[in-house]
Structure formats: structure tokens, C-alpha cells
Amino acid sequence: MSKLKEMLKNVRVWIFIILLVFSIISIHPVINKDGVAIRNVIKESAAAKAGIESPNPRIVPTKREIINSINNQLIKNLQDYDNAVNLLKANQTVRIATNKNTYVLRTIPLTETTILNETEWVNKTFTENNKTYSKLILENKTKTEIIGMQDIGIKVYEKPGSNIRKGLDLQGGTRVLLQPENETPKEDMDFILDNMKQRLNVYGLTDIVVRAASDLPVYLGGTGKDFIIVEIPGVNEEEVKDLLARQGKFEAKVANKTIFKGGNDITYVCRSSDCSGIDPYAGCSQAEGQWFCRFRFSITLSPEAAQKQAEATKDLAILPSETERRYLSEKLQLFLDDELVDELNIGEDLKGQAVTDIEISGSGSGITQQAAIPDSLNNMKSLQTILITGSLPVKLNIVKTDSISPTLGKEFINNSLFIAIIAAIVVVLLILVRYRRFTTAFPVIIIMLSEIVMLLGVAALIGWSLDLAAIAGIIIAIGTGVNDQIIIVDETLKKEKEAVSGFKEKIKRAFFIIMTAYFTMVVAMLPLLFAGAGLLKGFALTTLIGISIGVFITRPAFAVMIEILLKD
């Protein structure tokens, strides 16, 4: 007890204790694990309409919004959530209680529209040059059926147990490394990053990392090239790959003349269900064993673009047709990244008219109708995104992808914990066998554990995600820590006859060894911070932080503890 008091008189021990407590506060372990956290909310979904918002990615994990109950049924884990959501039906009122608010949702039905062989006359309203007129049109009769419920639009994940962010390989997700095709000036790079983030947000993804990275400069033997790293947790690669790799250069042409482009030419893109979705007139059809579903959504063009359209169409011929609907001789062609994605017929009433409200359509396919509908809707979403955010100044190539399945990620965490515990036990046993006293083994355990805690504390504080590379870094840091402790203990235990060789001298010598070893490790890790587009940065940074905590905080405290404990 008196020894403990003596330790507490030492400044180094106090610094150690204060930083340890601070680390635990920063990690913020959560004891109550009940509930599921909201990862993101899909736009235009029932949840979004009820006012549930996607979390701000900068919010620390433990401050995320947690769903506690659905329709008064307690939600404890992901399984409960899935069960509760599966019970819901279309047009139902749902009460979702979170730790922040209670929301009332109305589920949206999923409808399917089929075209019947009968025709009917419908009165349609047209707007042209601010004049409204109506006209009777002969159209196929349609039938709309409710076939289910639209996804309520909340993506959830297990409630975070602490503020430590898990890296991609520990929670599952996709990392894509993109490289601009041509050399890109800094401003363009910033624009690309912004645009990219926006696109992914439109896509309903949050918690994403989009950052620039560059390789070593040419004069150091690297490529000097810029890269963009995109990390998206909980999503598989196919979903992101398409959208990201595209330059997203959207152009609409008539007779090879550009009418409008994605971005500035388009002032509004409809994404609500009344003017976007599966085309009720075209619907789904089957051909050669495949189902095709057409989507459509309306957009508003800028007056300049509308004018261009009027000029391009004014000299076109009207094709003869047997039905009431007649079209112009050229089609409106939609190009995405210079590839023709769709052709739209232009109705005769649009000839030479500067119409600002037009409808864009396209299609998706699948083996069954059930598969073709979501595919079509996904295509629609990507196209809408591109139209909203405009095109990127340069084409991006995918140069590296990593995708980790969530189950594998979870196993990695448990596995790493298991290894850490066993390894720590073995190290402590070895130390016990070697020194044959608890007074030596005890501080070793304390220091080992607190180094891990402090390292995690720093990671939580700076928002650094822990991945496999970081775990390797932790192992290195802890291993170096144990090595240094052995040096300190051995130096302290030396019983030389030399009178001047007091404790101070020994510790000084121990710290000479430790500091020299420390600096060699630091210089060995520094180049890794910059090489390989920074993909090994996590490893290097964790190691550097870990060994620095060791040398400047825990080692001095350990030396004091050992000094006090070993004198009997």
C-alpha cells in the first residue's frame, strides 16, 4: 500500500493515469447494446418522408441515432429489426422510436402497371410556351396492382459499442481506388472529390470516405500520380463500381447536335414517385427469355437548352404513322460517357418548340419481372444522379478494388481479440517464468493493456478507422513495448559492484537503448506514410502512434513502478 502511495507521488505516473482515463472517455464504451443504429436513409422513401435523416458522417459512432422500437415492439438487434420490418404491409402506419425522436411512417405500396390490349380516349393536358391546352388522345388502357410494399428506406447496422470506428475490412464494404485518366490540376481534383461525394449522397450512401491520395513524387521513384480513394461500408462492389467509374458525361443529341448536357443545362430532375418510376405506358415486356422494364422521369431544361432543342427540331420531317401519335424523323439520343444509352422518339408537337419540361426514359433488364423492376429503377437512379451532378472534368479509371464481406469482417474482429488475449497471457507467463515474481509481471500487464487502450483512445479521438493493417500496427507497438520493458527490468535488476552505477544510471542506459531503437523504428515507418498511395498509411500511423505513446508516456511510468516495486 505504501508503495502505491509512493507511486502516486510521481508526476510520470500521474501523467500516465490521466491520459489513460482520458483515453477511456474518448473510446466511450457503451454497456447497453440494445437497438440498431441508422446507417443511412434512402431518399424519397417512407422513412425519409417521415423526417428520419441520414446521420452526418462526422458524428462519432456512439452519438448515432438508434432505433429502439418499431410499433412498440422492442428492437434489440438486427434480427429483431428484420423481423419487425418483414411484418409490415403496404399503406400501414408505423411508429419508429429512436433515442432522439419518435417518427410516424406511412409505408408506400409497390405497384405494378400492366398494359391491356384495349384502348381508350383520355383527356391530356399539355403545357407549351406557358399556354395550357388539352387534347384527347387514344391510349392503351392500363391496370395498376399493388404487389407489395416499398422498402421503408432505412439501412441499419449493429449499435456501435464504442467510438472506435471500424475500418472497411473489419465491418465489410468496398474500397475503390480511382485514377484520373489525364493529369488533373488541383482545382479539378477538388471538384471531382466534391462531385463524387454528392453523387454517393444522392445514391443514398453516407458514412463514405472519399479522399485524394498521391503516390510518391517521380523524383523519389514513385509515379507521382493522384488517386481517389472511395470507401463505402456495407455495400458490395458492383453497386458502386458502375456509378464511380463513369465520367458521367451525359449528353442529349438530336441529329448529332448536342441539345443539353448533364449539370447546368438541367434545372430540375424529378425524383418523386408521381413523375418518376417505372413507365406506366411502356411497362415491362418479355423478349428472348429476358424481361425489360422501362422507366421514365421528367426534367426541366434551362431556357437556353430548350431553345437549342427548338432549333434542332424545327427542320425535321414528321414521319407518317397510322396511329394518332406521330413522331419526328430524328430521335433524341441520350449518351452516357459517349455511349448511346437510349433513343427517344420526339413527338410531332415538339417540333420547333422551346419546351422546358421533358421526359427522359430508359430501361433495365432481368431474368424475371421481379428482377427487372429494381434493375430499371437502379438505372434510373444513376441517370438521375448524373443529370443532377453534372459531368466530371476527367475520366476516372478503377485501378484497385477491395471488397470485404461483412461476415468475414466480424470474424476478423473476434479473431483478433482472441489472439490478443492469448498472446498477452503467454507473454505474461513467460515473464513470470523468467523473473519469478509478480511484482515484475504485474506492471507489464498493466502497461500492455493501457498501451492498447491509449492507442484505441487516440484512434477514437482523431476518428481513425481501425482495420487489419492497424491491428498489425498495434501488435508491433505492443511487442516493442514488451521488449523495452524487459530491457528496463533487466537493467534495474543488474547488481553490479560499481558504486556509481545507481538506479538513475541504469535507467539512463535503458533509455538510451530504448530511444535509439525508437528512432530507428520511426525512421523505418515514416516512408510508408507516403508510399503506395497511402494504403499502408494506417499501418505506419498506428505503429508510430503506438511506439510514441510507449516511449513518452507508458515507459517512464513503467520505470517508476518497477523502481518502487523492486526495492524491498
Binding site: K400, S403, A469, K504, A524, L528
Partner: protein, 334 residues
């Protein structure tokens, strides 16, 4: 703490120290017979250290020859894995046993143009899954699909999206990353040498430390070549760690031998070895456990390289570096 109280404390320690010395005198007699047991080994270590030094250099030479032969045969210093070579790797976990040689045969005949490498994932000796590496372009959807279908068919697994993971890298990028990593290794090595020279400020012992680290890396690479392991970027990172770990014990040895005034060179070396071997032992034990239980192929690769390096380091620190130091000090004193 004030200077006065520090001084008091120091005085108290000195007294206690002397008191302990007396106790130790008695203990010494008890340990004498223990020393006798080691006589033969100690004798060799003491009297024939120059011969042992030659043995360590012969080992280094052997390692260089192994790497040389590898280079002559393949044009590469070591087998590169997909993330350096360019290509994709598919990881899938499975509870049931997968015969990888059979899978290798089938896939090799389906993709006879490609270099296919199949590894098993295991934890605690039990197979938990496989990794298929192949050098097809990561944007080559058609062949990727074809490969997955072939695996599906051969293993009779459903394999939905999300049940397997695909990682890929373009070949030019892989090469450039590799170049970067090698450069990092070189820069790290040079920087480490500078730190060592600055710390000790005596050429021969510093050179001995740097040589030991160099020999350690070369020998580890030779062993990696001999067991036919493929190296990825993570492996390069492991070599970087090795620089740090290997230099640890060398610095310990040099500090003890050069800076401590009392005792013969041999005594100081053995003393340092007791500490150093304990350090290596704990590190090897921890790394071995990680190697046995980890499910991650990345960590496994890192751990294998570190274990080989730590073992080689024992030879290069306590025979090569220690031998050079002794030889240097003897010549200096003559």
C-alpha cells in the same frame, strides 16, 4: 520532486544496493554448478567466436546465392503475389473442406492462359476458406464471372454476392506500388543506418549493427524463397518491421558492451544475450500465436516473415554482431 529529496532517495538506493550485494555473494556459490553445465557451449562461444563469425557469414553468403538462383530462374528476387503482379483475388470462407489441388487442376485447365494460385485460409489448423489468385484484369467482368461460375460448379456452392470478396489491382499500379514500397524499404534502411551511426558515433560497431540488420533481411528473403511463399505489399511492410525488431537487440548488445564499464566483453555479451533472447522469445511467442490463430492471410504473411526474421536475428545479433564487436575491441586494446 526537489533535488534534495532526489539525492536522498538516491543515497537510500545506494545503501540498499550494497546490502543486496552482500546477499548476492551467498547466492553466487549456489549457481556455480549451473554454469558448469553450459561449459561446452560457452567454451565454443568464447574460444571459437571467430569460427562462428565465419559460419554466420557463410549463412549470409548462402542466402545471397539462394536469392541469386531464384533471380536467375525467374527474373525476380521472390514470387510476387497478385497485389504486386496485378490481377484479382477471390476469398471465400467455407465450413466444409475444400480440396484445393483438385480445384487448382480444374481451374488451370479452364484458364490455361492465366497464372492461378490457390491458397487455403486456416485458423488453428482448421481450414476456414480459400483464396484464389489469378492474373486477370480487374475490369474484365466476363472472365471474373467465368471464374466465379467455375468455382461455383466445382465446389458445388451457391456463392451469392457478399459471400465472397473480390480484391483486384491493375498491373501497372501494382508495379508502381511495389516500386514505392521497395523505395520505402531502402529509405528506411538508410535512415536507420544514420540513426545508428549518430547514436554510437564509432564506425565499426555501428557498421556491425547495420550489417546484422542487412543480413537478417537477406536471410529472411532467402528462406521465403526456399519455402516458395508469395510476397504482397503487406509482406514488404513486414520487412520494414523487421528492420525495427532486428536493430532492437543489436542496439542492446552494442550499448551494453560499449557503454558499460565493468566486466569482460564476454560477460557483458552474455548478460545482454539474456535480455535479448528474452525479448526475442516473447516476440516469437506472441507472433507464433497470431500466426496459428489468425484467419487473415495478410496478417499470416506478416507473421511468417517476422518469425523467420526474429530467428535469423538471433544468429546475426549474438554470433555475427557480437563476434565483430569482440574482435574489434580486442584489436583496439592490443
Amino acid at each position: 520532486m526537489s533535488k534534495k529529496s532526489r539525492f536522498k532517495k538516491w543515497l537510500r538506493q545506494q545503501n540498499e544496493e550494497e546490502f543486496k550485494e552482500e546477499k548476492k555473494e551467498i547466492k553466487k556459490e549456489e549457481t556455480i554448478h549451473e554454469v558448469k553445465h553450459r561449459n561446452l557451449l560457452m567454451n565454443i562461444y568464447d574460444k571459437h567466436y571467430k569460427k562462428l563469425l565465419i559460419v554466420s557469414f557463410a549463412l549470409l553468403l548462402f542466402a545471397i546465392i539462394v536469392i541469386g538462383i531464384k533471380y536467375a530462374q525467374t527474373g525476380e528476387f521472390f514470387k510476387k503475389s497478385v497485389d504486386i503482379q496485378g490481377g484479382i483475388s477471390i476469398t471465400l470462407s467455407s465450413d466444409s473442406y475444400i480440396d484445393i489441388s483438385k480445384l487448382q487442376n480444374t481451374l488451370s485447365s479452364d484458364f490455361n492462359q492465366n497464372d492461378i494460385n490457390i491458397r487455403t485460409l486456416s485458423a488453428a489448423g482448421k481450414q476456414t476458406g480459400i483464396i484464389v489468385d489469378i492474373d486477370i484484369d480487374l475490369n474484365d467482368k466476363e472472365n471474373t464471372e467465368k471464374l466465379i461460375n467455375a468455382i461455383r460448379k466445382e465446389l458445388n456452392l451457391e456463392l451469392k454476392q457478399g459471400e465472397y470478396t473480390i480484391a483486384g489491382i491493375g498491373s501497372s499500379l501494382g508495379k508502381s506500388f511495389f516500386k514505392g514500397a521497395l523505395l520505402a524499404l531502402l529509405v528506411a534502411f538508410i535512415a536507420m543506418s544514420i540513426i545508428v551511426f549518430l547514436s554510437f558515433r564509432v564506425p565499426v560497431p555501428s557498421l556491425a549493427v547495420v550489417l546484422a540488420a542487412f543480413s537478417d533481411i537477406i536471410t529472411t528473403l532467402a528462406v521465403v524463397d526456399l519455402i516458395g511463399m508469395r510476397i504482397s505489399t503487406a509482406g514488404i511492410a513486414a520487412f520494414l518491421m523487421l528492420i525495427g525488431y532486428s536493430v532492437d537487440t543489436d542496439i542492446l548488445l552494442s550499448t551494453r558492451v560499449l557503454k558499460r564499464k565493468e566486466g569482460s566483453v564476454l560477460d557483458k555479451t552474455i548478460d545482454a544475450a539474456k535480455t535479448g533472447l528474452m525479448m526475442s522469445l516473447t516476440a516469437i511467442a506472441a507472433v507464433l500465436i497470431a500466426l496459428i490463430f489468425t484467419q487473415s492471410s495478410v496478417l499470416k504473411e506478416i507473421m511468417i516473415i517476422i518469425i523467420i526474421g526474429l530467428l535469423a536475428d538471433i544468429i546475426y545479433t549474438w554470433i555475427q554482431n557480437a563476434g565483430i564487436l569482440r574482435w574489434y575491441l580486442q584489436r583496439k586494446n592490443v
